[in-house]
């Protein structure tokens, strides 16, 4: 009897050591870009994909871009971050531009590279570049539409009460607008929302 108990104790201790050693090991795994990995109520990379897909599909299915045949030129001004998190919204605009370009329905003016373009054009016009290959002046295309947006968030925490977990509700909305630069009319606007609840324990070891 005593022997059996001793064996059980040894096995238990060995299992405990193995378990604790496994806990100390660094593990990695590659996550697919379309896989949803969410740790808390905050903004995650998979959210970007979701909101970009929803808005690009709306933009391409509704007027004016949905019915245009002349590949209108668009300029992207940033998406303003009005959330309570440090979120780089340039990633959202980059993805929207990429998806719209891939559709072949619109063209984009490169706003972010304007200074570099001007510098390169100046260099080519400076007399060092062969006149037959240098770019011509005043040939840049003016944008017809301007794309702007705002990312907002509202956070709600569970009121103080006796509980072992704290619940937080997070609401995100991305609003996009397409403005006709000639008339300053908003020709298209849409928004997409993500609402997420997370529960965090109050007590840990």
């Amino acid at each position: 009897m005593a022997d059996t108990m001793m064996k059980c104790f040894v096995y238990f201790m060995m299992a405990l050591i193995v378990a604790s050693m496994a806990g100390c090991t660094v593990t990695t795994r590659t996550v697919a870009p379309d896989e949803e990995v969410i740790y808390d109520e905050g903004y995650h990379f998979s959210d970007k994909k979701k909101i970009v897909n929803a808005l690009v599909s709306s933009l391409l299915s509704k007027p004016p871009l949905g019915f245009s045949t002349d590949r209108p030129v668009v300029i992207v001004y940033g998406v303003a971050n009005r959330t309570s998190e440090h979120i780089s919204t340039s990633g959202i605009t980059d993805d929207i531009r990429k998806e719209l370009l891939a559709s072949g329905r619109v063209r984009f003016v490169n706003k972010t590279q304007r200074d570099n373009i001007a510098e390169e054009v100046d260099y080519q016009q400076g007399g060092r570049v062969n006149t037959t290959t240098r770019v011509k002046l005043a040939q840049q295309v003016g944008a017809k539409y301007m794309l702007t947006g705002t990312l907002r968030s509202i956070e709600k925490k569970q009121p103080r009460q006796v509980r072992i977990k704290k619940r937080t509700l997070m609401y995100y909305s991305l609003n996009l607008e397409l403005t006709d630069l000639e008339t300053s009319l908003i020709e298209w606007a849409d928004s997409t929302e993500i609402i997420r609840e997370a529960a965090k324990p109050f007590i840990g070891w």
Binding site: A80, N81, R82, T83, S84, E85, H86, E155, K166, K200, P201, F202, I203, G204, W205
Partner: protein, 386 residues
């Protein structure tokens, strides 16, 4: 944490670069003092004008604060028979707020206004969670309003300026901002009320085009630190608790002279010691409840030793437990005594400004601001530590 003490000593000895060096060399920081280390380092880097580095450090502090929301059973149980010093320092409510305040200042100083607004919203969350102890932090509230205002978030700015005017009980100080925002929001009745208040003390607006604004963050003096308080019940029971050193306060006044026509500055100050004391007081009931439990646990332990190993062993245990009963006096030392926001409308162009500051723990001092260039309708930010 001898190194932390050395860094603080160098900081107040006028060698912030040496303080930064000491803190940069610190590689292994005990988990229990990590927040303290990040807070001190953030302010030292801010003082050196290394705003981006200060941001990186204080963002780590902000993340750590979020992680610290989970209560550790092992630390709490251990501290019941030893001392509070073995637990992870989580900062007073005021200190947690000032992490966001310094982040707001840093982001404004590097013209990252969207990020400053993110921090303003984080600060608002804390002000909402602990309204009473943090009520008199007017500086942070003014900074929050400014962050909303800069990004044309008129509604947010209007609400925050209005709250601030109520807290300061001064309807004239922010009447111009409130009038302008009420008009933008289409609140005509409110705008008319604020116009009447403005008329009581007409501004001398700067001439020469659309004015801009110079905004100064004055960080004056040395914040009070925690000191131990003790109540001894003979023969061997000792209640210990932290309290803030009380320092005399005579307020802060700022006079401004420039080479151009100016309107009087808007000056909003926070007495850091007052807010810190209110924050500690708000936790007093929790501290005393835990202290009582610790005293009871230690007495039970001493009696148990006495019963099992005799009177001498019991007496030795009591002496040991009495000595280990030290109040947790950890606090953020590099904070200033006063945080003062000075907003100065200026005409476009180059200006030299002289700020004459009195009070705030530095006596009277004239601070000459080297040339500041104001573009029409824009704001320029400067941080000054004395």
């Amino acid at each position: 944490m001898t190194k932390l003490r050395d860094a603080r000593h160098e900081f107040y000895g006028g060698h912030p670069e040496k303080a930064a060096e000491i803190l940069n060399e610190l590689k292994e920081i005990p988990k229990r003092d990590r927040l303290l280390f990040l807070m001190e380092k953030g302010v030292v880097l801010h003082r050196l004008g290394l705003y981006k580095e200060s941001i990186n450090t204080l963002l780590q502090a902000s993340l750590l604060m979020a992680e610290q929301e989970v209560i550790s059973i092992s630390q709490q149980a251990g501290s019941l028979v030893t001392t509070e010093w073995i637990t992870e320092y989580k900062g007073e409510y005021s200190e947690r707020l000032w992490i966001h305040t310094y982040l707001m200042m840093d982001y404004l100083l590097v013209n990252k206004f969207e990020d400053a607004l993110v921090e303003a919203k984080q600060a608002l969350k804390l002000l909402g969670e602990h309204p009473d102890p943090l009520e008199s932090d007017y500086f942070t509230r003014a900074l929050i309003a400014l962050c909303f205002d800069i990004l044309d978030e008129h509604n947010g700015a209007y609400i925050e300026y209005k709250k601030l005017a109520e807290l300061l009980d001064d309807e004239e100080l922010l009447a111009k901002d409130l009038h302008s925002l009420a008009r933008k929001l289409g609140l005509d009745d409110d705008a008319e009320e604020f116009r009447k208040v403005m008329m009581k003390k007409p501004d001398r607006l700067p001439s020469g085009g659309q004015p801009g604004e110079a905004v100064f963050f004055l960080e004056l003096g040395k914040a009070p630190v925690k000191i131990p308080g003790n109540i001894v019940l003979p023969p061997s029971i000792r209640f210990s608790f932290p309290r803030y050193d009380r320092s005399s306060d005579n307020g802060v006044s700022v006079k401004v002279s420039t080479d151009a026509g100016i309107a009087p500055p808007i000056t909003i100050a926070t007495d850091v010691g007052e807010v810190a004391r209110a924050s500690l007081k708000a936790r007093a009931a929790k501290i005393m409840a835990k202290e009582t439990a610790r005293v009871a646990a230690k007495e039970a332990l001493a009696r148990s030793v006495e019963e099992s190993s005799g009177e001498l062993a019991g007496a030795v245990t009591r002496i040991f437990l009495f000595i280990t009963e030290e109040p947790d006096t950890r606090s953020w030392h590099t904070l200033p005594k006063s945080l003062v926001l000075v907003r100065l409308p200026l005409a476009p162009g180059e200006h030299t400004i002289d700020l004459e500051v009195s009070g705030g723990g530095i006596g009277v001092e004239s601070i000459l601001i080297p040339e500041i260039y104001i573009k029409p309708g824009t704001r320029v930010f400067r941080a000054i530590r004395r």
